[in-house]
């Protein structure tokens, strides 16, 4: 369960990025986070990853009070989450295998397990035959799928994605978002930030719509 309780985020000398936000995403559900640029979508995801601190309010994630989490506990908390970025954030000097393996290496998983789990994750995203390719030799959609494999290889409780289809064309966007829906169907809580209205309508998922840091008419549909 992800729960924002009266969460405010502001930066010194700047306007409030999030104001008195109340949002609840039950465990195992998938939702979309929409809104125009600057609405606070990325900030909300950063708070969830504890890349930023909550200014006021409480943020609970699966029983953990993220807003008061001590610095030394942040890495262990992040290992429970998978995250996908618009710009993929891949290591260009490492092949696909080693990009995905990084998530397991930081968790102290042994070499043998890394081999099997990375291969399985890459099969899931349809890149089983690209395991030794460098990211630069892959298309944008393939690079994003490497990012997704890296985010799901450790079977996280929660999967977050910040505009994962932002740089992709229509059919590739559909492929990628369908991948997220597959993971959600296996029990992962998924929150995807997107501004792609056609995909929002196609997927028919619950939507949290942000405008100027405030939650607007959120749409509660069952996935």
């Amino acid at each position: 369960m992800i729960e924002f309780i009266n969460v405010t985020k502001h930066y010194p000398g700047r306007h409030h990025v999030l104001r008195e936000l109340n949002l609840k995403l039950p465990t195992g559900q998938m939702a979309l986070l929409t809104g125009p640029s600057g609405a606070g979508k990325s900030t909300l995801l950063k708070l969830l990853l504890r890349l930023e601190d909550v200014s006021h309010g409480t943020l609970m994630v699966n029983g953990v009070d993220v807003s008061t989490l001590k610095k030394r506990h942040i890495p262990a908390y992040r290992r429970r989450i998978g995250v996908v970025f618009q710009d993929h954030k891949l290591l260009m000097d490492r092949d696909v295998f080693n990009n995905v393996a990084l998530t397991l290496q930081v968790s102290g998983v042994s070499g043998k397990q890394i081999q099997s789990r990375v291969r399985a994750a890459l099969e899931k995203v349809g890149l089983g035959n690209r395991i030794h390719n460098l990211p630069a030799t892959l298309s944008g959609g393939e690079q994003q799928r490497v990012g997704i494999a890296r985010a799901i290889v450790h079977t996280p409780e929660i999967l977050l994605a910040d505009e994962p289809t932002g740089n992709l064309d229509g059919s590739l966007s559909t492929e990628i978002l369908d991948l997220f829906r597959d993971f959600h169907q296996h029990g992962t809580t998924v929150l995807v930030a997107t501004h792609d209205q056609s995909q929002v309508e196609r997927l028919g998922l619950p939507v949290f719509h942000l405008e100027q840091g405030m939650l607007q008419n959120s749409k509660e549909k069952s996935a």
Partner: protein
Amino acid sequence: MSALHIRREAAQNALNTLLKQPLATLMTIFALAIVLALPVGLFAALNNLQQLLGQWRDQAQISLFIHQDATEQDIQQLQKQLQGSTGVVNVRYVGKEAALKTFEKNAGMTAAIKILGENPLPASFIVELNPLSESPAALQAQVQKWARQPGVASAQSDLHWVARLQAILALGKRAVWILAIMLAVGAILVMGNTIRLHIAQRRDEIDIASLVGATRAFIRRPFLYQGLIQGAIAGILAWIIIAITIAILQGPVDRLATLYGTRFQLLGLTGLEGLILIIISAILGWLGSRLAVGQHLDHTFS
């Protein structure tokens, strides 16, 4: 998270990074080795100087003049005591007759002594000391103690030069220590700067690792191993540099010693000293890395 395989992977990661840029790695190692070889070489030179000065025992002689009434037993006891004392290299007994012969030979006063009718010169012990075995005050105290022994009439010594010699050596040691500390800081800075460049090159990797839940220790470890490995290799290289320098200097030292009718073997580092050098060097490398990576993580790690 502290399993052996994580450390092994971090070490492998560190080695790969170093081998990817062999020239830069070698330059760092050489720079560190030279920085380390300088003070350690100076320490070795001081050790050799001490060894050389320790051989100047004839310059630290003390004469203990025996009382005319001293018994044979007094003399034997005194000799035993002198031979068992700290810093005594040699004890030589000069009897009355031997003293007279030496006096006649050196001073040419045979006629004057014959007028006296009897031998006025006392028997004595000539004690040769290692001038660096004790502090000048301790040596002086020892001489005074001997002078109070039964059978001893008086003692004659010139320990001022020992005090001067030891003061010069103490000054040299202090100067080398200061230089060593300054160069150790230099070594840490060299390593810190090198690691800072590696961090800059791997910033993306650090950021992404942090996003997927890497701990500070996980991120820091490969960099610390890089510092440790480079430091240890630099220590070995510094040892080799010192050994080569000593081998090169041994020839001229041999020729110089021959001119003075003596022999002198230059001392390098012992196995234990070499090992300590490698350990200290590895620690300095580790410390430089730790400072650089710690500073970076303090500013960026969240």
